[in-house]
């Protein structure tokens, strides 16, 4: 099946998937926190677009609610909160150089391939769009985790965490046309609470170690020093 034989909807979804994957890559390689947050907001926006598109094409009203929630939370509230935090901590000028940027990027690329490899067994039972959507969302999840591993800033961890959620949402929406409403609402609620909690934690961590570098949170360990 070639691209030209697909309908517009499929083409759009695939493009959006590619874009979302791209944003994940961009985040992974990003050293500046403010830019990272911006890209994250962009990813959230792409997700909103996707949701809206699916809602439109399937004429499924409750997905509009979902899109609205995503817009509010992922594009506006969380980036705003993070940005405020970064500016308050005066970190927006810092450039956090990744210790081994090339390796991380190469790793990210191989993760993408790996995602396809993992999903290969189900290729015969599914359509291309589903497969691609799942693969992209899996790689977004994995890239999000890689982002958390590679970055030392707590803010980056939150971004990574939320980007993992984005990946999940993408899968939920594209592959399954949205979860049941009660679940959607629950997940959204959880994300909201999580976001609030992150805010509280930034405060605590700052008062505790006077920094947001998670590498400094290392009192509890089992290693003989």
């Amino acid at each position: 099946m070639t691209l030209s034989t697909m309908d517009f909807y499929t083409q759009a979804i695939l493009s959006l998937a590619a874009l979302i994957g791209l944003t994940s890559f961009l985040m992974l390689g990003q050293g500046r926190l403010l830019r990272l947050i911006f890209i994250f907001a962009l990813q959230g926006f792409l997700l909103t677009l996707t949701t809206a598109l699916v809602a439109y094409s399937l004429d499924n009203p409750h997905l509009y609610i979902s899109a609205a929630l995503t817009l509010a939370l992922k594009v506006i509230f969380i980036p705003w909160m993070l940005r405020k935090e970064v500016i308050k901590m005066n970190m927006h000028r810092d450039v956090q150089a990744l210790t081994n940027k090339t390796a991380v990027m190469m790793g990210g690329a191989s993760l993408m391939v790996f995602s396809y490899y993992v999903l290969h067994p189900i290729v015969h039972t599914t359509t291309t769009v589903m497969l691609n959507a799942l693969a992209v969302s899996l790689s977004v999840v994995l890239l999000g985790m890689l982002l958390m591993i590679a970055h030392r800033q707590a803010v980056a961890h939150v971004v990574g965490f939320m980007s993992v959620e984005n990946g999940l949402f993408f899968a939920a929406i594209v592959a399954t046309n949205g979860m049941p409403m009660v679940v959607e609402l629950g997940v959204a609620f959880d994300v909201l609470v999580a976001a609030v909690l992150f805010g509280i934690f930034f405060l605590h961590i700052r008062t505790s170690i006077d920094s947001l570098d998670v590498d400094l949170l290392n009192r509890l360990h089992e290693v003989d020093k």
């Binding site: 490899y117 985790m145 290392n218 009192r219 089992e222 290693v223 003989d224």
Partner: protein, 709 residues
């Protein structure tokens, strides 16, 4: 009916434990009493008086202690009755108790083998409960609460009895562990002392490892059978390999409790630190319960014993016997010494059991029955005399506040009764004729001497060598107990404490040891009674009894045939009495020379013999230390403090001697180090850095995805 007796024994020991818990509840009891009096004012006056009397502040603890021990003693009596009646009737009683797993109630089986061990435990427990009340009086209630002691003693005894009743693997393990855990608390009873805590830990650890091995052994059987009942396990169709694996596991598990070398190390640590009457039970009967387990597992559950197992047992038994007595010899702590001597005696039992296996597999069931008899008889005897000796050690500790043999001496005059009882114990354990220890050892020798009938040349030469080692063990045992008795009771007092010691005030404390001592002697002279009982055990288990074709019956002991060997303790006793009496009468017939003149001990003319000139423990055993030097890790130093201008005059000399067990350095410390090192290595995975942790999740996820696809 008989099973009711057995249940009574178990329940009474539980009850004694629970009763002990009332020790701290005096105020509640008083309140309850008040309540009863108020509620039923017309209650019988005598009952009211009784309640009032017994709840008196000062009287209550004493009465309660006595009541607890009376219950325990009753449990012992019931155990004896149950054991005797099942042995005499030869019945096999099956029952079920609605406890345990939903599809597996506790199965109970009471047969001759259990009955015999019931008898053993019953006697020991009765003796201990006669002895107990005055012994525990010495404990300060605030530091060593009786509630704890009494509770766990009751549970301990109940556990032992339940092990004997168990007829499924699950109940067996529960009872087994109940026994272990309860005795752990007893070992840890005087926990102020760090050494005691260490001993308790070691004990529990080894008990746990042993129990796991036993579970695994049952597991091997169970995986071939359907279900965990012994009936099912008995019918498990095992290949020889799996049977041998099960045997090896059972040997490890039960061997840890029995105290086979080299897994004996907990024994000399744990036995000395428990209160003496508990040590008596642990050494005297708990080890026997483990022996029961081994017998039950090998002869009953596995069924087809193989002679190779017998060889393993013979070798291990011989090593334990020799090692045990050699280590015992070097100890100066009385209870430690007794504990090591338990290792020795257990070694003898195991060895004889091994002989029984060899004969059984080689097609000589009658000889197997003989070996079996020797093993069980020795177990019985050991229960008696080791109990006696531990109780004696308790009395000594009670009176002198010492357990170090080197700090005693000359007690024979101060404690005449105790010394006599202890002497009986020492003679029995040294296997001197006329006492019970000798009979079982004689039977063991007789078994070993039948090796001639075997076809296998290696076995035929191995067994006599083991027998000779047994002879060496016996001789060393005698030397060891000469040392014990001589250092404790004879000579001059070696310390202040022993100088001030006096006989126990409360004679009931001697009642327990007297019971045991009388039994030691009676069984030594009339072994036939017990042998007949054991015969019914071997009839059930091996299907053969010992032939007793001698003409005079109970007077003679002829294990194989009268032509081959015989022993008649009653006649020997008569002979001794005649010979001794005649000389005694003859030499003292003249009233003029009958009197003895007392004079000062010959001091070579230097004057002033004092207690420090006597031989002490380490001096007594010095020749052995030189001869068997490699058996121990000996650290012997003589430090001299010099004085004078040129530092040439000796101001003081001190002798320092430490004897250590080889097994520690060779076996246990490497394991401990290994675990600690491994733990340190594994500890490194928890770095404290959250990114590392995320990395773990990430890698795990990738790995799993890779695995799945």
């Amino acid at each position: 009916m008989i099973i009711v007796l057995a249940y009574c024994a178990v329940l009474l020991s539980f009850a004694s434990g629970l009763l002990a818990l009332l020790m701290n509840q005096q105020s509640h009891l008083l309140a309850a009493n008040q309540f009863i009096v108020d509620k039923y004012p017309n209650l019988a006056k005598p009952l009211q008086n009784l309640l009032h009397y017994s709840l008196d502040v000062h009287r209550f603890p004493v009465l309660l202690r006595q009541a607890v021990f009376i219950l325990l003693g009753l449990s012992g009596v019931f155990a004896v009755l149950a054991g005797l009646s099942v042995l005499l009737t030869q019945a096999v009683i099956l029952d079920q108790i609605p406890l345990g797993l939903p599809w597996l109630p506790w199965h109970v089986r009471f047969d001759a083998l259990s009955g015999f061990f019931f008898l053993m435990i019953g006697i020991a427990v009765s003796a201990v409960s006669l002895y107990g009340p005055s012994y525990v009086n010495a404990y300060d209630e605030r530091h060593h609460p009786f509630a704890v002691l009494g509770l766990f003693t009751g549970l301990f005894v109940a556990g032992m009895l339940l092990v004997l009743l168990a007829n499924d693997a699950f109940m067996f393990m529960i009872a087994w562990e109940l026994m272990s855990v309860a005795s752990y608390f007893l070992v840890a009873f005087q926990h102020e002392n760090p050494a005691n805590r260490r001993a308790a830990f070691l004990y529990l650890l080894m008990a746990e490892v042993g129990a796991l091995a036993i579970i695994l052994a049952f597991g091997v059987l169970a995986s071939f059978a359907d279900g965990f009942t012994f009936d099912a396990l008995r019918n498990a169709p095992l290949s020889n390999l799996w049977a041998s694996i099960a045997f090896g596991l059972a040997l490890l598990g039960f061997g840890m409790k029995v105290g086979i070398f080299p897994v004996h190390v907990w024994l000399p640590e744990a036995h000395p630190v428990a209160p003496s009457h508990i040590s008596a039970l642990m050494s005297g009967v708990m080890l026997k319960v483990a022996l029961y387990g081994l017998i039950r597992f090998c002869f009953d559950l596995l069924g087809n014993v193989q002679w190779q197992w017998g060889v393993v047992l013979v070798v291990l038994g011989t090593i334990s016997a020799l090692g045990g007595i050699l280590y015992a010899m070097m100890q100066s702590n009385l209870k430690r010494l007794l504990a090591y001597s338990s290792v020795e005696n257990v070694g003898i039992m195991i060895m004889t059991l091994g002989l029984a296996m060899i004969f059984l597999d080689s097609g000589f069931p009658q000889l197997a029955a003989l070996g079996f008899l020797a093993a069980l008889f020795h177990a019985f005897n050991h229960a008696l005399f080791k109990n006696l000796l531990f109780l004696g050690a308790g009395i000594l500790h009670h009176q002198t506040h010492e357990l170090n043999i080197d700090h005693m001496g000359g007690l024979i005059k101060k404690m005449p009764h105790t010394s006599l009882l202890f002497l009986v114990g020492c003679m029995s354990i040294s296997s001197l004729p006329l006492f019970n220890g000798f009979v079982s050892e004689w039977l063991a020798f007789q078994t070993a001497l039948q090796a001639d009938v075997l076809d296998n040349g290696i076995l035929r030469s191995l067994i006599p060598v083991a027998a000779a080692a047994l002879a060496l063990t016996a001789a060393l045992g005698a030397a060891c107990f000469v040392k014990v008795y001589g250092m404790i009771f004879l000579g001059q007092s070696r310390s202040h404490h022993s100088e001030k010691a006096h006989e126990v005030g409360d004679k009931t404390m001697l009642a327990g040891p007297i019971l045991l001592a009388v039994l030691c002697f009676l069984i030594g002279v009339f072994p036939g009674a017990i042998i007949n009982l054991i015969d019914s055990v071997s009839l059930q288990l091996i299907g053969q009894t010992m032939p007793n074709d001698s003409t005079l019956g109970w007077l003679w002991l002829a294990p194989v045939s009268a032509q081959q060997a015989s022993y008649s303790p009653p006649l020997v006793l008569v002979g001794v009495l005649v010979a001794g009496g005649a000389t005694f009468w003859y030499l003292r017939r003249n009233p003029e020379t009958k009197t003895m003149r007392r004079s000062a001990t010959w001091d070579c003319g230097f004057g002033g013999i004092n207690a420090r000139m006597q031989y002490n423990c380490s001096a007594f055993t010095m020749p052995f230390r030189r001869i068997f030097a490699n058996v121990w890790l000996i650290d012997e130093r003589i430090d001299k403090t010099m004085k004078g201008a040129m530092q040439q005059d000796v101001a003081a000399v001190s002798h320092h001697l430490q004897i250590e067990d080889h097994t520690w350095g060779r076996l246990y410390q490497p394991i401990e180090r290994g675990v600690n090192n491994l733990a340190r290595l594994i500890g490194r995975i928890q770095t404290g850095n959250i990114r590392t942790y995320l990395g773990y999740s990430f890698v795990t996820l990738l790995l799993m995805l890779w695995v799945i696809s």
